[in-house]
């Protein structure tokens, strides 16, 4: 049954592809599409999408007669991070909005272009990197994105450059009038010895369904440092698949934080390729979900070279009928001796109808390594709750305090104080008001 469904939607998508009038990268798209056509979307039996049978939902909720959907939005102030002095780049329904965007960093610090521009101006660099780390073969949605992307960003930091202002990217989808299918893409390159902080935020409005298929590749070269933060706060009818892959070279440093607050379904595939020695990678995540939200984080850390360190902490709080999924793969390749890799996934189920599926997967081929992993899921500690109440704190507030205490640990690696305090308040308010 499910294969029939997949075949139908695939044909619809194929039809849509052939009708689309892309103005750039046609050859590039065609080869990605050829691969997509061969494999199709994941069926319910496919292990990687077992808990998130997204194809069925795409079939049920979307038509693939893709027309550019319009949005009447003219201000995005409410979706910005207050007082964050940053470059602002805005996508509305998958299209870049020059009027809502604002680039403040000089060209000498960082080159920021739309992907369609970069195909013309930086074609040689594009040819080397685009879809090379996140290949169409790695994930069906990555293949679909490589074929269908509407627009995206090309971010290039020159050697030995510290980009002093963060880059804030807003992916905004407006489903007020129609369904939205948006497909955006980012290629970011940090040349040797450079430093960059990126904040990505996903918001949407409207009562029609949204499907956002997002892909991004970050190339973090020798001695570079990338700070990466993602905030997913879409409305309840939004389906999102985000493929993020970060490639690290020698002596590079990476901090990532992924916060999922809302949306119908959110599927994050985050992969870190540690293709260098003496690298350090911290990747933290938090999903605070309720209602019918499904938050699925699939992460991969691939230690390909010796002497590097990775530390992964993901935490989840599930209320209502929400579902959490965590799948954390750690690969330590045969040559990657002296690797230190740590992983932890802890979950609190607030309601009796919420669920979580957590699965660590360690594949270690080297023999001189330190790896550990642990996962827990449980309820709030009744003893702790009583202790707080016995001092005069109401049950509701005590619960929020304990959940906040559990959650806030994951903010530790965030360096930018404005961003940190924004996230801190966002998390605290959500726990006080919605759980």
């Amino acid at each position: 049954m499910s294969t029939t469904v997949t075949r139908d939607i695939k044909n619809e998508i194929a039809e849509a592809f052939h009708q689309s009038k892309f103005d750039v990268a046609n050859d590039h798209r065609k080869s990605a599409f050829a691969f997509f056509e061969k494999t199709g979307l994941p069926g319910t039996k496919q292990e990687e999408y077992r808990f998130t049978p997204i194809t069925k939902n795409l079939e049920k909720n979307f038509n693939w007669d893709i027309k550019a959907t319009t949005s009447s939005i003219n201000t995005i102030d409410e979706f910005l991070i207050p007082n964050l002095d940053a470059n602002i780049l805005v996508f509305v329904n998958g299209n870049y909005s020059a009027s809502l965007s604002k680039i403040i960093s000089p060209d000498t610090e960082v080159k920021i272009k739309t992907l369609s521009e970069a195909f013309k101006s930086d074609s040689a660099t594009i040819a080397i990197y685009l879809d090379k780390v996140l290949t169409p073969e790695s994930d069906p949605f990555a293949a679909m994105n490589a074929a269908f992307w509407q627009n995206g960003l090309f971010i290039h930091v020159p050697e030995n450059t510290n980009v002093s202002k963060p880059i804030f990217i807003l992916h905004f989808n407006d489903a007020g009038e129609n369904q939205v299918i948006s497909q955006t893409k980012i290629l970011g390159i940090l040349e040797k010895g450079s430093q960059l902080s990126v904040v990505e935020k996903f918001d949407s409005v409207g009562s029609n369904p949204v499907f956002h298929n997002f892909s991004e590749e970050w190339i973090v070269k020798e001695k570079s440092h990338l700070e990466y933060c993602k905030v997913q706060n879409d409305v309840g009818k939004s389906y999102q698949v985000a493929n993020t892959i970060i490639h690290q070279s020698d002596n590079s440093l990476l901090n990532t934080f992924t916060l999922t607050l809302n949306g119908q379904w959110v599927r994050n595939n985050l992969s870190i390729i540690i293709d260098g020695e003496h690298c350090e990678s911290h990747f933290y995540g938090l999903y605070l979900v309720n209602g019918n939200t499904l938050a699925d984080n699939h992460t991969v850390v691939d230690h390909q070279k010796p002497n590097s360190f990775s530390n992964e902490i993901y935490k989840g709080i599930m209320d209502g009928n929400s579902k959490g999924v965590f799948n954390g793969k750690i690969f330590v390749r045969p040559h990657a001796q002296k690797t230190n890799a740590f992983q932890s996934n802890r979950n609190i189920l607030v309601s009796e109808t919420s669920t979580v599926n957590t699965k660590p997967q360690l594949e270690i081929w080297a023999d001189d390594v330190k790896c550990s992993h642990g996962c827990t899921s449980g309820q709030l500690d009744e003893e702790a709750l009583f202790y707080l109440r016995s001092r005069g704190i109401s049950a509701t507030l005590a619960k929020a305090m304990l959940l906040y205490a559990f959650a806030s640990e994951v903010l530790a690696p965030i360096q930018n104080e404005t961003l940190k305090s924004y996230l801190d308040i966002l998390i605290a308010e959500r726990l006080h008001n919605n759980f």
């Binding site: 500690d381 707080l388 016995s390 005069g392 305090m401 205490a405």
Partner: protein, 251 residues
């Protein structure tokens, strides 16, 4: 202040309190002693509102209110404080933040304005001295990695901050060395006044050398079987609990 009449309680299927009567007036210190398993900690837990304990009979009146009807937080807001036998560790919540929240919740209940940051810090400094506790300890996660003595001192610090009308010290002396015991007892003594009362639940007489009670009650098989003055504690120390058990058996 507190009137307990014929209080009966069970946990699970096990009946533990079999009719307790107790009267505590403002300005008094009562010690509840008794052998292990006599129901001492159950009494403290029932008074503080632990849900695992089911009250099967009797009444508890606190300052004119039916205590048993109140939620644990409302008991605290009415002025009851329980110093726990095993204070729990709560990672991610600092004692300072915890106390600020608790104090302001209690103030709100009583129709008072929240304390501003300056007044709160002032109050905290004053109370810290009382229990000889260091601010660095209070900035850390609540009781996390604290020694037994530090945890108990933190309990007394919280008691000092919240200024309860009735404090219940549940086996506060357990696990304390003599120096920590002295500090904790000093704190309690300094907080005593004619408007508040204290119930000390303890197995040993040791703590009562430092906090001298007005009344001593012996709990055995869920009932108060003997009451007297502070000399009763000394008698128990000298003779042990078997003496009481035998007396009860004969009667």
């Amino acid at each position: 202040m507190l009137t307990i009449k014929n209080l009966q309680a069970k946990v699970g299927e096990k009946q533990i309190l079999n009719g307790i009567d107790l009267n505590v007036k403002a300005g008094e210190v009562h010690a509840i002693m008794g052998p292990n398993g006599s129901g001492k900690s159950t009494l403290a837990s029932v008074l503080s509102g632990r849900e695992e304990y089911e009250v099967t009979g009797g009444e508890v009146e606190f300052l004119g209110k039916n205590l048993l009807e109140l939620e644990p937080e409302d008991r605290a807001r009415e002025g009851i404080f329980m110093a726990f036998q095993y204070p729990i560790e709560i990672p991610g919540v600092s004692t300072i933040n915890f106390m600020k929240t608790a104090l302001n919740e209690i103030r709100e209940y009583r129709g008072l304005q929240a304390l501003d940051a300056v007044s709160f810090l002032q109050l905290m400094k004053e109370k810290m001295k009382l229990v000889e506790i260091d601010q660095s300890l209070l900035s850390r996660s609540l009781n996390e990695g604290f020694s037994g003595g530090e945890k108990k001192r933190n309990e007394i610090f919280q008691m000092a901050m919240l200024e309860p009308k009735l404090s219940i010290l549940d086996e506060t002396d357990s696990g304390l060395d003599i120096d920590a015991l002295r500090i904790v007892a000093n704190g309690v003594n300094k907080l005593r006044n004619k408007n508040n009362a204290t119930i000390i639940v303890t197995h040993y007489q040791r703590l009562l050398d430092y906090i001298v009670p007005d009344y001593v009650h012996v709990l055995y098989k869920g009932k108060i079987v003997k009451s007297g003055g502070k000399e009763l504690a000394l008698e128990l120390e000298a003779k042990g609990y078997d003496w009481i058990k035998n007396e009860v058996a004969v009667a």
